[in-house]
Subunit: 325 residues, 2 copies
């Protein structure tokens, strides 16, 4: 472990991915409190809303208000998810820094989720690029456009996804103007060896544009998969506080990787996240207040930090043995 | 993924580590059924009992009967845990193939758990070695003696454990006659980078005698830690069906790594365990019958195998793209 810690970005996506998959709608005031608490814990990247029709996702009807609140923090990177051009325009007007547009690599998932083929989603993506560039030329600030490839590691509808499809969509997304490619394990089917293979596959196609990974913890491999992604050079991950989340079109899918458990693992390995674990754990209280009865997950929240955790982050080779003198 | 799969041994320790940490005693008949079901699923290594005074652990009072049943399977490797010489002698009489003797690298844990210092445990270990050799010379079969180093990755009582202590105990255990060194994360504090460091540290001291790792999943890192151990050449792991287990002297500790989830990860990575996942999942019914109301854990049991899981184990580079024709 070197003295200079390597930085890993953890993006809190619970306000979007988490909240859109539970039945209840979190009142705006609690969303503000959640953003405040996450910010206080050191989280500087948040995906706070999606711009989808309110009749489809009433949970996200207050996207403008939530984004406005997030933007009161000068150094907070604010992201919104958008499914189409109209959503992108609304996100631009709201003033987000990053727009994530999902593109499923599984035709079955794409049709079920947005009633469009992957090819149609690529076309829509190109139109978003144009719209963003128009805004930028008109004096707006430069907004990053992320192609969020979904069902990359498998699909509950289609089953296995051919590697050739993943490569084809990644290439097309870059050609359509993606600044960044993110890979999503939408239905929680990723496994460690596959994660390494697919990262290398996509990197061969898009190079340095492959930025972040988005894992769900459906089969308990979320952190093992994250570990492999770290070993393959990925330094940006999505996660949800208390593991809130899922995918309404992915039966059996459970929440995103738990933010607290992820930060604990990164911390233990000497990565710098800027996030304070005690404050992060304390921020779960906002969810407990806002969503009474909703299950909150997390190993660390139950077990607590190990005794002398900060000390265990240091090496002990030089210490004298305390036994067998 | 090569055509020849690399073998990984998964030792089911739920009959010992799992059962000794729950309040109820599983009737012998159910233990027999569990062994039968695990064997039918392909499990060929089981730690089925411990030889401790029945007044301390009534759950293990039927150790002789359980071992006798396990020994009816010709190709089943049968292990018992013993805390002292008397236990080792009982295990030898019962006819086990392997004896695991725990030696804590934390003085605080050792005193709390067995009221002896690590140095005293090493002395006791040497006496076990002598006893086993005596039996062997008298015509008994060769029994493997494993030093199960515990609290290697941290201790709830002592906190961090100096690397020098781990190295000193590993060296002393080999000098005292250990055939094999196993490393235990008794209190569920292991973290991925540390796992790699400690494996290399211990291997430097004991070489090829470092065999297996024993993780608890207290902070959700059980499988990530296993992954690191695999990368460092470890090919033998303990696990408990349904994550049953814990440590009575490790407050807050949860069960061992879940056998089903571990086998799923290994399977997905192309390792050969010889274990059939569907049958393994079905074997949870024995626990549900035997221990009604006892929480049974496991991601795979809840989410099920991914669609076309066997297919996802193959590579897809050569497949034609199904999208963007």
């Amino acid at each position: 472990m070197s003295d200079i810690q390597e930085r890993v970005v953890v993006t809190e996506v619970g306000m979007r991915d988490g909240l859109q998959s539970i039945a209840r709608t979190m009142p705006t005031e609690f969303k503000r409190r959640w953003i405040d608490a996450a910010y206080a814990a050191g989280v500087r990247h948040m995906e706070v809303a999606s711009f989808v029709p309110a009749k489809l996702l009433p949970q996200m009807a207050d996207a403008d208000e939530v984004i406005a609140h997030a933007l009161t923090y000068d150094d907070l990177m604010v992201t919104a998810l958008v499914p189409n051009l109209k959503g992108a325009q609304r996100a631009l007007e709201a003033g987000v820094h990053r727009i994530v547009a999902p593109i499923s690599v599984s035709s079955a998932h794409s049709l079920a989720n947005v009633r469009r083929t992957p090819a149609e989603m690529i076309e829509a993506f190109a139109a978003m690029r144009e719209s963003i560039d128009g805004t930028s030329k008109a004096g707006g600030r430069r907004v990053e456009l992320i192609a969020g490839l979904s069902t990359v590691f498998g699909c509950t509808l289609q089953g296995a996804v051919p590697y050739a499809d993943i490569a084809a969509i990644a290439r097309a997304a870059v050609q359509a103007g993606a600044d960044v490619i993110a890979l999503g394990d939408t239905t929680g089917e990723a496994t460690p060896r596959q994660v390494g293979e697919i990262i290398e596959l996509v990197r061969d196609v898009v190079g340095g544009k492959l930025h972040s990974l988005h894992f769900h913890d459906t089969r308990g491999l979320g952190l093992a998969n994250t570990l492999v992604a770290l070993q393959h050079g990925i330094r940006e991950f999505d996660a949800s506080l208390a593991g809130l989340g899922g995918c309404p079109h992915a039966p059996g899918a459970t929440g995103n990787v738990n933010t607290e458990d992820l930060v604990f693992m990164l911390d233990s390995m000497g990565y710098e996240t800027g996030i304070d674990l005690d404050r992060l754990l304390a921020s779960r209280a906002v969810l407990a207040d806002a969503l009474p009865g909703e299950p909150l997950y997390g190993y660390l929240a139950r077990a607590g930090l190990p005794k002398q955790f900060s000390a265990t982050r240091q090496r002990f080779e030089s210490s004298d043995s305390q036994v067998l003198q």
